[in-house]
């Protein structure tokens, strides 16, 4: 069921990609103006950091983390790579949970504001995410049947993989400075959980209590132009 939903979402995204390509072929002049070489040479690199992670680290006692983000802009398409780390310390009446680990994501975005003069971006994309983390939990609880129970669980080098459908904006605010957000629909999570403990929170993915989850990043970025972007197709 889980894999079926993931497969349908991927097919949906591939259909969008296909439709995008089909529409491009209907623009007779664009093929003459934009050569393949021009289209697929990078026009710029955006490098940024996630503001939400930094704010949460400063304001929440139970969270620490940061994320950096890089995007290579191939005119209409972008190659996106994220790298980050996060850790949480959570306490309930009967358990103390902690995790920490690193993650990365890589994927491709398609820009739907292709001819914007400021090169602002509204995109849809896909990501593959990977995380390696450590988690521990100390439990002390009173069960009406079994009495007082206590145990310590520790699980290191846990691996997790998942997929994301992403959307967002990148907006130029001044010279090389940009802001932007990415909304993430995360699904198809796989982990190598141990016999004793199931993951609660995976760095880069989030809580595991549902098969799918949402994520949101707000980035402050700088864009380094590498070459002049190809001219947009002439308007009729």
């Amino acid at each position: 069921m889980h894999d079926l939903v993931a497969m349908r979402l991927l097919i949906f995204f591939l259909l969008i990609l296909g439709a995008d390509g089909a529409f491009s072929q209907n623009e007779p002049d664009s093929a003459k103006v934009d050569t393949v070489r021009n289209k697929y040479l990078p026009t710029g690199v955006r490098i940024g950091t996630d503001i939400i992670s930094l704010v949460r680290t400063r304001t929440q006692n139970n969270f620490h983390g940061w994320e950096v983000n890089g995007e290579i802009d191939f005119s209409r398409y972008s190659l996106a790579i994220d790298y980050g780390t996060w850790g949480k310390d959570l306490n309930s009446d009967s358990a103390a949970y902690a995790n920490t680990g690193d993650y990365w994501r890589a994927g491709i975005d398609i820009d739907f504001l292709n001819n914007d003069p400021d090169r602002n971006v509204f995109f849809l994309g896909v990501r593959y995410g990977r995380s390696v983390f450590t988690e521990s939990m100390n439990v002390m609880r009173f069960d009406p049947t079994w009495g007082l129970l206590s145990d310590n669980f520790y699980h290191s080098n846990v691996n997790a993989w998942w997929l994301e459908l992403t959307t967002g904006l990148r907006v130029k605010i001044w010279k090389i400075f940009w802001v932007g957000y990415t909304g993430r629909f995360k699904f198809a999570l796989t982990t190598d959980a141990s016999e004793e403990m199931l993951p609660h929170d995976i760095p880069g993915f989030g809580r595991t209590n549902k098969e799918t989850t949402w994520g949101f990043n707000y980035y402050l970025m700088v864009r380094i132009p590498l070459r002049k972007a190809p001219a947009p197709p002439p308007e009729k």
């Binding site: 959570l90 306490n91 309930s92 009446d93 009967s94 358990a95 949970y97 739907f112 504001l113 509204f122 939990m137 439990v139 609880r141 049947t145 079994w146 009495g147 129970l149 145990d151 669980f153 959307t167 967002g168 904006l169 957000y181 909304g183 959980a193 141990s194 016999e195 004793e196 403990m197 199931l198 993951p199 609660h200 929170d201 809580r207 209590n209 549902k210 989850t213 949402w214 949101f216």
Partner: protein
Amino acid sequence: MVRTSAWLLVFLIVTVSCLDEPDCYHLNNDIIGISFKKLEDSSADMLAITAMGTVEPPLLFYTDTTFTKLFLPLNYFQDETIFFFETADTTHFLRLGYVSQAQFVSENCGEKFVLSTMRVLEHSFDSVRVLTDVPTSEAAATHLEIFQ
């Protein structure tokens, strides 16, 4: 148009992410249902016991009663639970093994234990059949049939 759509999307994502709190009610799936059957025709059988409980820790669940079906908790802090059924003639044992995995749920709910792969390790009845190997969080399903 694009700007309006983008803001609507942000609002939708934030709203959905706020509806993420799990339900804290009976999180452990540590309950199994046991039916007693007659070996010759698989019809319901009544077991009269003088005492029934667990061996380790030594707990007494029932005394001087009869049942054709009962629901029992598994010790989720162990990977096996041994039940004894003391009748007027003899004492039967049922040793069940399973995988118990701890998982933190939330700061409000605490932790839960997820039990799976239940199997019969040892027993002194005539025959025991596992119908389903995943215990449930409520006393509802039948997991084992004991034939005698």
